[in-house]
């Protein structure tokens, strides 16, 4: 009864008691559900509803849990009155974002009570799949659904073909991710595919080349005095967002020196609007600009000699490259940024310590994006902003309770030795951890081998992917597709069986934010309300599937908690007492330690490398020496755009506004009605164009137009903007849904539908910005 004890303690908490008193005054009635009904005694299985007892008094609770409407996973506190969640605020105990949350977290109420949610398992009765085909769902019992899935999982393993099981993982809690990963390993499939291939792989590759850390770069923003942001939409889509929003306020007016922020982007983003200086740049040329900054900093002797001298390697080669090829004048021609501006910003950057250079989507989601990220990251080393207060820092992990080893049989071992469907680690994508957008290719061609079955966990790649329609076609090729999520997304429309999972406000889990804070912090998720309908948490379903598969798969899932709650309890046992975790919702590791240079760098020289030894070793192993030394150095390479400049004169720039809920659905009126604050509009997507460009094309503000790429076209209305590079059309992503949900279906268009399919040459990150388009009257 631990969790109940914790809750009764929580009631004595100051502010909350007052509110509760207030509620008591408002004469509560008998239909109320008390705390034990909401959570269930901890001795029962997780998420199994306890019938409400009529005599339970009405009650207000503040429950500490965490959000997952985007990958930032912030700690929240939810006010629940009589078993209904009515308000979400930040949890002050979380220091990643100092207890603050972004607007998406507030929209959580509409995620929980979304009318488009599914309440019981569904089975497809229409064998025809694809966009526009009605699945003709029939309700199904959990037992039938899990039995059928179990039988198929067993059959595939009996044929010794576990690699033919394909798993998709969208935005899941960290604990769910672990359970899914364990399932893939125990089952014996190398094909666990996350959406990361659409997100930040180039960024990771860039920092890996420099310092050996393959993860998002973390920034210690409390005492940063200067930021130059290459394409990074710090206030819209960077991660972890709530932290960045909080620290922005802090950097501007809560420290003695106001931080100066420069934004480099072809689009006048919200971040640019709030910055001190916007530098429009020719799309895809950020690497050249970063190298030009290096040129100025080195030429004018402004770099941090102590750090560069002691803790970096390859400076001479890098210096030669920067000085020979990236003079401000030469780069000015490439980027369209005036040479004087380049000098001025470079001097400010080097002279205002601590300064950081941040790379983001518009700068690094290109075919040579890894090297752009590398070039940007090198600027941080040049000014000594590595592992210092106010500089780049290195995220510490959480030391969870060890789990028993996975039991592997021969089938599993053989299966995992098969090449992965997404060609990760092959010559095509030598550095790739996951190449999400390669999967449709594999499914459509049946190479390297056909898939027997797929399971999708909260994934919705049909909306996120460049060339989105490929997914519609590819999913048809999967003989049996099981989709697990709380609502019917576009991907779910292709399912043979649809299993409704709980939302994050109804389940047990743990989560931690993407790199940012430096120190480790873990957040709990606990049920705030009873699961809606017959929905069940994802880990519970995986435990069931493993059991039904039997053998070593079932064995691998024995003794690790049996369900979501048990698993979370087990894994966090090494950190803090369960009772305390349930009450506080947050566990924090020790303070961050700076300047750990002796043990920080995971490179051959054990230093920060301007000339990548990691990359050299990888090339040697793969025997690829295509571009010689340049492959090991940060550099700019002219982008090969998709589409002829003659026919398609403009470059399409899709961007992600803040109110895109990253859980795969957008069926939330609170988010939709304020979707584009810079345009003052919601519920729509525009073709945002520079007014001069539009005038040349004879297009007026508000004209309906086709935006056509070499692949497809979509319809939108023109929106004049003085904040768009003349060669660019900007369109917000996140809309254009065609699946369930009154508040999302048929609203706006999805620019990803007309983007061509292309990859970063090293890590297989999807390229979003190199498609050319033409715009004409519809």
């Amino acid at each position: 009864m631990k969790s109940e004890d914790a809750l009764s303690q929580k009631k004595t908490n100051g502010v909350k008691l007052n509110r509760r008193t207030f509620i008591k005054l408002s004469a509560l009635t008998g239909a109320a559900i008390g705390a034990s009904q909401v959570l269930g005694p901890s001795s029962t299985r997780s998420a199994v509803p306890v019938p409400p007892s009529a005599s339970a008094p009405g009650e207000e609770k503040w429950i500490a849990t965490s959000c997952i409407n985007c990958p930032a996973r912030c700690a929240i506190r939810v006010r629940a009155v009589d078993g209904k969640a009515v308000k979400i605020i930040g949890n002050p105990l979380s220091l990643v974002s100092e207890g603050k949350i972004c607007p998406r977290a507030h929209v959580g109420l509409q995620v929980l009570y979304d009318q488009g949610r599914v309440n019981f398992p569904l089975k497809r009765t229409n064998p025809q799949k694809g966009k526009g085909a009605d699945p003709r769902w029939q309700p199904l019992s959990w037992e039938e659904a899990l039995q059928e899935i179990g039988n198929r999982l067993q059959a595939i393993r009996q044929k010794d073909e576990p690699h033919k099981l394909l798993l998709f993982s969208g935005l899941n809690t960290k604990s769910s991710e672990e359970v899914i990963d364990r399932f893939a390993k125990a089952y014996g499939t190398p094909n666990l595919v996350s959406g990361e291939g659409y997100e930040a792989e180039t960024q990771k590759a860039g920092s890996w080349m420099a310092d050996g850390h393959s993860g998002d770069v973390a920034y210690d923003l409390d005492s940063t005095n200067y930021i130059v942001a290459f394409g990074a939409d710090i206030l819209e889509s960077s991660r972890p967002l709530a932290r960045l929003l909080r620290k922005w306020g802090k950097m501007r007016r809560e420290k003695p020196n106001r931080t100066k922020i420069v934004v480099i982007n072809p689009r006048y983003s919200l971040t640019a609007a709030k910055s001190d200086r916007w530098v429009p740049i020719n799309p895809g040329t950020d690497a050249a600009l970063a190298m030009a900054f290096a040129n100025v900093i080195i030429t004018e002797n402004l770099f941090d000699k102590a750090f560069v001298g002691h803790w970096t390697a390859g400076f001479d080669v890098y210096k030669k490259l920067a000085l020979d090829e990236y003079s401000p004048e030469a780069v000015s021609k490439i980027t369209g940024v005036a040479a004087d501006d380049i000098r001025e910003i470079a001097r400010e950057f080097a002279g205002t310590k601590p300064a950081i250079a941040i790379g983001g989507k518009e700068a690094v989601d290109w075919t040579n994006g890894s090297y752009s990220a590398y070039a940007i990251h090198c600027l941080n080393a040049l000014v000594g902003s590595i592992d210092i207060p106010g500089g780049v820092i290195y995220q510490e992990g959480v030391k969870f309770q060890e789990m028993p080893r996975i039991a592997e049989d021969e089938t599993a071992k053989k299966g995992k030795k098969q090449p992965a469907l997404d060609l990760r680690g092959t010559d095509k994508f030598p550095l790739a951890a996951v190449v999400t957008n390669q999967i449709p290719e594999a499914l459509l061609t049946g190479a390297p081998y056909p898939v027997a079955m797929a399971i999708g966990f909260n994934s919705n790649f049909n909306m996120l992917a460049p060339g989105a329609n490929r997914w519609d076609e590819a999913l048809k090729k999967i003989p049996f597709y099981v989709h697990i999520s709380p609502f019917i997304s576009e991907m779910a429309l292709n399912a043979d069986i649809l299993l409704p999972s709980t939302t994050y406000l109804e389940e047990w889990a743990y989560d931690f934010s993407p790199p940012g804070a430096g120190f480790a912090e873990l957040k709990l998720k606990q049920p705030v309300v009873l699961p809606r309908g017959k929905t069940r948490p994802i880990p519970d379903l995986i435990f069931e599937m493993a059991k039904k598969t039997g053998g070593t798969v079932a064995g691998s899932f024995a003794g690790i908690g049996d369900n979501a709650e048990g698993f979370v309890k087990l894994r966090t046992a090494s950190l803090l007492p369960w009772k305390e975790f349930v009450e506080t919702g947050v566990w924090r590791g020790g303070d961050y330690e700076y300047r750990k240079y002796e043990r920080l760098f995971r490179t051959p020289s054990k230093k920060f490398e301007f000339y990548s030894g990691n990359m050299k070793a990888l090339s040697a192993a793969k025997k690829t020496t295509a571009e010689g030394d340049l492959s090991f150095l940060p550099h700019y390479k002219a982008e090969k755009f998709l589409g002829e400049a003659g026919t398609y004169p403009l470059v399409l720039l899709p961007y992600q506004p803040l109110m895109v809920m990253e859980n795969g659905s957008q069926n939330y009126p609170w988010a939709q009605e304020i979707f584009l604050p810079m345009a003052g509009r919601g519920w729509n997507v525009f073709a945002e164009m520079n007014s001069e460009t539009a005038n040349k094309l004879n297009l007026k503000n508000g004209t309906p137009v086709w935006v056509e790429s070499p692949y497809r076209k979509i319809k939108a209305t023109v929106k004049f903007s003085e904040g768009i590079h003349p060669q660019v059309v900007a369109m917000a992503s996140g809309q254009g849904h065609y699946s369930y949900g009154k508040w999302q279906t048929g609203i706006g268009v999805n620019p990803n539908e007309i983007i061509g399919v292309d990859y970063d040459s090293l890590d297989g990150q999807s390229v979003f910005f190199n498609t050319r388009v033409k715009v004409y009257k519809a």
């Binding site: 509110r19 009515v86 809560e254 803040l658 609170w670 988010a671 304020i674 003052g680 003085e722």
Partner: protein, 228 residues
Amino acid sequence: MPRWGMVIDLDKCVGCQACTVACKAENNVPHGSPREQTERRDFFWNKVIAASSGKYPSVRTELIPMPCMHCDQAPCVTVCPAQATYRREDGIIVQDFRRCIGCKYCIVACPYGARNFNVKEQETTEYQRQDLLPDRKSWGPWPFPTRTHGVVEKCTFCFHRIDQGVKEGKKIGTDVVPACVEVCPSGARVFGDLDDAKSNVSRLLSSRASIRLREEMGTKPKVYYLPK
């Protein structure tokens, strides 16, 4: 008697609109729809607006969070024929739904577009807030649990919070603040007593230059903005 006011630091504001969403959640303000937005019938008690100027590449867009300005010389109060809108002693301008006759005179008079006319029944299924309990009595401390069709509504500075806080002897401005101030992730919003020289709003105002919107109209707004 305090005189409640708000200071919004535009240098800290990140334009995220957390205030807008938190206000809707706190005050049960109905959400709109695509059609209502096209017809400009959707409404907000607080909204972040964008004001742009300049030509490429010297463009400039200001994002301005807009609650009710709670003017000391409020035109809406002057024009209301039914005395449905009035100034409380603590300076908060409130709207009495029971007195409001829905003439919209105040909407025309308000220079800030802070007032909204409610044309829809909250209780229709389409707009029903799924997270609220069917029994209104248990909704908790919302000031107007029952919405009324055909009246004018607006920001209240979350006076339900303030009144409750005062009753409990809490420090308003630190322990108790309106919902938009509470959630602002960048800490751009501050609330407090403008007449108290030691309050955080007064101290902030004395530290930097501030502006009020359309001050020339003599409305004496109690929402101050701190520019960059």
